[in-house]
Amino acid sequence: MINKEIILKIDDVKMDFNVGGQTVQVLKGISMDIKQGDFAVIFGPSGCGKSTLLHCILGMEKPTSGKVAIEGIEIGNMTEDEMVKFRKTRIGFVFQQSIWIKSLNVLENVSFPNLLKGMTKEDAQKLALETLKEVKLDNWASYSPSQLSGGQQQRVSLARALTLDPAIIVADEPTGNLDTVAGDELIGLLVSLNKDKGKTIVMVTHDLEYLKFANKLFHIIDGELVEQFDNAEAIKMSGSLRTKKGKRTKETVCNDNYLDSRNKKCK
């Protein structure tokens, strides 16, 4: 536990957007280290910059300044194609809404990332079926993804991320569109992946319920990392938030209603 390798290193990342001639600072210098086997959760109100930070981790956007390094490799300087190549071998992702290649069935969609690596169809499908077994959806392999329920789709999405054996799995509000049961099921899978297989997971969520599963928590407000907890505190924090939920204090209102970050009462 002590000598764990740093998988994701974010060092003083700043991000400016130019909107209508005005420069808006979205990320105001965020630094964080995520180690091998971590289950990191980034949470905060909407518009706080979580998604932008995630884009930076995925290499889809380049930070204005600062560094993002995965497994010691600086990804900020990569060209688009270099980044794509890096992504297809090292990063798996699950988004809030699953997007499918509609003409392909579940199995083919899951084998897609490996085919992009130049694997033969037979090998890629064998691997895909194995990962589908892990998410307990191998019976649905020949269905079209759109025939599956939202929860199932998210699990297939997870299988698609897992099939290329990534160094890090990035999940952007994976339970956002799911009901509690399906959400719990998905989080359960993520947790077991983290615990049993030692997968490094970075998840963005606003559902405080799931904070307790994380061993690292990053609280972002207005582009600034305001709090950072480790595992034990996370559980405590999560628990305390839950217990306070019913009382509707100013704090809990603000914690629950991140959607309204501009609410003056919270500041």
């Binding site: 889809m60 794509v84 499918w100 509609k102 897609f112 990332p113 169809k121």
Partner: protein, 697 residues
């Protein structure tokens, strides 16, 4: 300067980079096509194997093995550099996309197929009409043949020597002689003229007439060689070769000579027709001239029967006469008028002329050098005192020539041949030397004249006599006609359009004909014919070929095809726009899909290739279907037209033809249509950001 250099090197670099990119693009397209081909064949095999009925049949021939082999082959060609997606997978994806939007794909491909089909159908009618017309005009083999006839140059004659010369030319496979004569036919108390062709088997093989009855033409009497000892009444040409020493001069010394009456002999400045200048003519003069025989450049002649050959070489020489002579010109109505000097006197020159139309007489000259005699006054000037003594009266029945002897004032006796005064229209009869084959292969047109059917004609006899064209028998002129002889019909040629018959060329040779009416040259192939004809024309001969007509027809139909092709292109252009629309819509629909593909690790170039693959498949698919569509439409039209023409008693009409190169061209065009219409959508797809995958709707 430095800046300029920089710009130069920079632009060169970018140019090279662009070239490299272009070559890589073309190469990847070729690989793509090959992989696509293998993929489609494999897919077809798989499809067929899965069918119940045919499937069993296919299992028998180990399709499984074949499919595996194709798969291996596909992966082998489709090497994926640095871990990119394979082309075969892109092709599969493209197919899957089209399958999921089946109706749209069918409509789009169908549109392209219609456009391509329109082009193929219209242009194939153009080709079909052309080949129909050319088929009526010329048979295929005729396009590598040309007919040789006499041109403006009168020095060349269509004899065996010229034939050999032509045969020695580059790319000439065969030179076939033809003697064409009008023959007077007497049959059942009626007389009529038909054309007749003295030919050999080679000619028949080249022209390939359709023998419908009787025997086929076969060479007979082939080895007959005419030589003048066989026959007294016609002079032939026989040349003996003697060796010539390097001084190239004969030892015959100096002698007296004169020119035959009524003849004009060209005087050259040198004993070489080509290199020297023609000065004028020399004509007969009373008293004659003094001259010497000299070996000079070889010329074709009939009278001088000696040819010189330099030892161990292929250089030939002929005997020339060198002398000092007065010059004459040809004035009005072909009369000789003196060529005058500035002083108004007749011009005298020392010149050379061919040893033709010359009568020589040995003189008693001690000196062997002509020039010594030529100094000072010229000897042997014609004088009034010469006395002509006629020794024999000319009679029409005698030889063609009359002998006249004269003694001039110097006491030299002259012997000359004088043409007999005779009726120029009188027919001279020429007898066959030995017995001719006398077999005729008649055309059905001629049979109509004879009033016979093809089956009954075989074995029929009719009497003929050939009218021999002036100049076909060497050295003899005037109206010539062969003796009457009985010919037997041996075969019938299917040609109702004209009246003629073929006979053995040996029969013509037995008449003493050594100069052919025509030569047929066969070139190595169609393309070589043009050069062969050019070379022959340089010999001073004229050539004609049906290829000329065909070229005119081809250029006419070339224009027609362009017009038809243009009409078809409009249809294809509309279909292309449809395809462009489909591709653009498909792109817009799949923006998020492209985003997620990119997030998963698809390179922008691969995305572009995916979209291009789709449009190329649609293009090629439309092209293939269009060619089939156009082909079958053409066949249906042919069937309809044929059934109409069969009802009217005509033959089958094949109105459409699709040459293989046109098929290849159309496939290339449809492939190109795929690339062009897919270009913009694929470029847009390339630019779609991966972030689209994260933008929630």
């Amino acid at each position: 300067m430095q800046i300029i250099n920089k710009i130069k090197s920079f632009s060169l670099k970018t140019f090279l980079a662009k070239m490299r990119a272009a070559i890589l693009f073309i190469w990847s397209n070729i690989v793509f096509l090959v992989v696509l081909l293998v993929y489609v064949i494999r897919g077809l095999l798989k499809f067929l194997t899965r069918r119940k009925w045919i499937g069993k049949l296919f299992l028998l021939i180990k399709t499984e093995f074949l499919i595996n082999l194709l798969t291996k082959l596909m992966y082998k060609i489709d090497v994926n550099k640095d871990g990119g997606v394979t082309k075969s997978y892109l092709i599969e994806l493209a197919f899957r996309n089209m399958k999921s939007k089946r109706n749209r794909a069918i409509v789009t491909v169908g549109g392209v197929a219609l456009g391509v089909g329109a082009i193929v159908f219209l242009v194939s009618i153009g080709y079909g009409l052309e080949s129909m017309v050319i088929g009526r005009v010329a048979k295929l083999d005729e396009l590598k043949m040309a007919d040789i006839s006499l041109g403006k140059s009168l020095t060349v004659k269509l004899n065996d020597e010229t034939l050999e010369k032509i045969k020695a030319l580059k790319d000439v496979t065969e030179v076939i002689p033809v003697v064409s004569m009008v023959s007077k036919i007497k049959f059942n108390n009626s007389v009529f003229d038909v054309m007749s062709f003295g030919v050999d088997e080679r000619y028949i093989k080249a022209v390939n007439p359709n023998f419908i009855s009787g025997e086929k033409f076969a060479d007979k009497d082939k080895n007959f060689v005419y030589n003048n000892e066989n026959n007294q009444n016609i002079l032939g040409v026989e040349q003996e070769v003697e060796m010539v020493d390097d001084s190239m001069k004969t030892n015959s010394g100096i002698f007296d000579f004169n020119v035959k009456d009524d003849k004009k002999v060209m005087v050259y400045s040198d004993c070489n027709m080509i290199k020297s200048e023609a000065l004028g003519y020399v004509i007969r003069s009373e008293g004659g001239y003094i001259g010497e025989e000299v070996w000079g450049e070889y010329y074709l002649n009939e009278e001088n029967n000696v040819v010189g050959r330099k030892e161990k070489s292929e250089e030939f020489y002929s005997k020339w006469i060198r002398a000092k002579v007065p010059l004459w010109m040809i004035g009005e109505e072909g009369l000789a008028v003196p060529k005058l000097t500035k002083n108004g006197e007749q011009e005298w020159v020392i010149g050379c002329f061919k040893n033709e139309e010359i009568i020589t007489e040995e003189g008693n000259y001690e000196k062997s050098n002509l020039d010594e005699y030529l100094e000072g006054d010229v000897l042997g000037i014609a004088t009034e005192s010469a006395e002509l003594v006629t020794t024999e009266e000319a009679t029409p029945s005698a030889n063609l020539f009359e002998t006249v002897t004269a003694t001039d004032s110097a006491g030299i006796e002259w012997v000359e041949l004088k043409k007999v005064e005779e009726d120029p229209n009188a027919l001279k009869e020429v007898a066959f030397n030995g017995s001719p084959v006398a077999e005729a292969f008649v055309s059905t047109g001629m049979l109509k004249l004879l009033g016979m059917t093809a089956d009954k004609a075989i074995g029929t006899n009719f009497k003929i006599s050939y009218i021999i064209p002036d100049g076909n028998i060497s050295g003899v002129s005037g109206r010539l006609q062969s003796t009457e002889i009985e010919y037997k019909v041996k075969g019938v040629v299917d040609d109702a359009t004209s009246n003629y018959y073929y006979f053995q060329i040996a029969d013509a040779k037995r008449l003493g004909i050594s100069i052919y009416s025509q030569l047929k040259v066969v070139a190595k192939d169609k393309i070589a014919l043009a050069d062969v004809r050019k070379n022959i024309e340089e010999l001073g001969l004229k050539t004609d070929s049906t290829a000329d007509t065909v070229v005119r027809i081809e250029s006419l139909f070339g224009t027609l095809r362009i017009i038809l092709g243009f009409l078809g292109t409009i249809a294809l252009a509309v279909a292309s726009l449809g395809m462009f629309n489909t591709m653009t819509v498909s792109l817009l629909e799949r923006t998020r899909e492209v985003g997620v593909m990119k997030t998963m690790g698809m390179l922008s170039n691969e995305v572009r290739e995916l979209f291009l693959a789709e449009s190329m498949i649609m293009g090629v698919g439309g092209g293939v279907l269009g060619i089939l569509f156009g082909f079958f439409l053409g066949k249906i039209l042919s069937i309809i037209l044929s059934s109409i023409s069969l009802l009217k008693g005509q033959g089958i009409i094949s109105i459409t033809t699709i040459p293989w190169f046109f098929t290849v061209f159309i496939l290339a065009v449809s492939f190109l249509v795929g690339i062009i219409t897919g270009w913009y959508p694929s470029k847009r797809a390339r630019q779609i950001s991966a972030l689209n995958a994260l933008r929630y709707e």
